[in-house]
């Protein structure tokens, strides 16, 4: 990716990351490493660590919740789940995203 392409992608990802997290959690609860690896594999985050401040803020905002379960060796593992408020937020985003995306597509197609 060229430098300007990288910059554009970073800006767009920044705005949608929160909703991608909600979308992934809407399908299934996940623990931190799962989410981080998935998002990185999809190219939605540059570094896995930056996910955690976002999750902390989303949790405080009531969009996600956590559940702790003991794994092998008795170590507790924190699972993130989506809340009702989170689902509502995701629905709103989906509506806005489709509308904005359609307009952007129309403009780009008209320009090319």
């Amino acid at each position: 990716m060229t430098e300007s392409a990288e910059r554009i992608a970073t800006n767009i990802r920044k705005g949608v990351l929160e909703f991608c997290v909600l979308g992934l959690l809407a399908a299934n609860e996940r623990y931190g490493l799962e989410l981080a690896s998935d998002l990185q594999a999809r190219g939605l985050i540059a570094s896995e660590g930056s996910l955690y401040p976002l999750l902390a803020r989303m949790r405080e905002g009531g969009l996600v919740d956590t559940r702790t379960e003991a794994v092998g060796g008795g170590r507790p593992r924190r699972y993130y789940t989506i809340t009702a408020a989170g689902r509502e937020q995701l629905d709103t985003f989906a509506t806005v995203w489709r509308a904005v995306g359609a307009e952007v597509d129309t403009i780009i197609e008209g320009a090319s």
Binding site: L33, G49, R77, R78
Partner: protein, 309 residues
């Protein structure tokens, strides 16, 4: 010292600016991330590489919590002002009562062969200047409130120490009346330092709850062992309410702090108004609950927070 510890320590250091509860949430998640990735067989240096630098995490945290980090500082400021302000007011009221209202001196005069006891206040007995000394603690407590903010930790500590010494030097009778103000000054200092540092967690809340209940347990123990305290029947419902409030404080319920503070204030004022030296214990208890209740109320986190979009 492992790479993982180094990494976490470095993140922790860089996250100093954000609120303690957010910082510990991020650190807990990172610890889990390391543990899960190690279980999955990923080598540590690769885990560290894909996490990104501590600086990247800190930058993201400031983006997410920038506004909250500032709010945390405002919270410390407000919490400190409430506690220190309460200390000033309590010291002032106690000073006025001790100097001008409380008949702490008893002198006997002879009136036609009959011995008559006169009860005099400090003001009547020793004059205005001695009486005014009783107002000095309020001034001492006021100094950190007008001193520059950057010198606050120092001025608040000095004020708390000076108040403590004054209460001790003042002797068991009159100095003891200032103990509630001393407790408030120390609570203010601790809250100021902790809210801008590591904050208060579950252990601090449980300690607050335990300290709330402690006087009741001591009274019960005193009765159980045939101690000297005789509690009026009306006091039992009050003590029961305070035990319930102590439990709620341990659970982190904010309003329980306000209620306890209000009860403490009523007990404190009641003790002062009764105007007898024997009520010193009542005043101490009132000050104790006022201090713990206020400290809990101003430090407990607000439960719900509207989602940011």
């Amino acid at each position: 010292m492992t790479t993982e510890d180094d990494y976490l320590r470095s993140v922790e250091r860089m996250l100093r600016g954000i609120g303690p509860e957010h910082r510990s949430a991020v650190l807990e998640d990172l610890r889990g991330h390391f543990a899960d990735a190690e279980d999955a067989g990923r080598p540590v240096d690769e885990i560290v590489r894909s996490l990104g630098t501590p600086r990247e995490i800190a930058d993201r945290a400031v983006e997410e919590f920038g506004a909250d980090a500032v709010a945390g500082d405002d919270k410390a400021e407000l919490a400190w002002r409430v506690l220190q302000g309460a200390g000033v007011v309590v010291a002032l009221v106690v000073g006025v009562v001790v100097a001008f209202i409380l008949p702490s001196h008893t002198i006997a005069t002879s009136d036609g062969g009959m011995s008559v006891l006169h009860h005099l206040t400090v003001f009547q007995n020793d004059g205005l200047w001695v009486a005014l000394i009783a107002l000095v603690p309020a001034l001492v407590a006021l100094v950190p409130m007008v001193a520059p903010r950057r010198a606050r930790t120092a001025t608040a500590s000095v004020a708390a120490v000076v108040l403590t010494l004054m209460a001790l030097v003042g002797g068991f009778t009159l100095g003891g009346f200032f103990l509630p103000a001393v407790m408030l000054a120390w609570a203010a200092m601790i809250v100021w330092v902790r809210l801008r540092g590591s904050g208060f967690g579950g252990p601090a809340r449980i300690t607050g709850g335990a300290l709330t209940v402690a006087p009741t347990l001591l009274l019960l123990a005193g009765i159980g062992t045939g101690g000297a305290f005789d509690i009026s029947a009306w006091a039992w419902p009050l003590l029961a309410v305070i035990v319930v409030l102590g439990v709620l404080i341990g659970l982190g319920i904010r309003s329980a702090g306000w209620l306890l503070a209000a009860l403490g204030l009523v007990i404190l004022v009641g003790g002062l108004a009764s105007g007898e030296l024997l009520t010193l214990l009542v005043i101490w208890l009132g000050g104790w609950w006022l201090t713990i209740g206020l400290a809990h109320a101003v430090t407990a986190s607000v439960p719900s927070h509207p989602a940011r979009t």
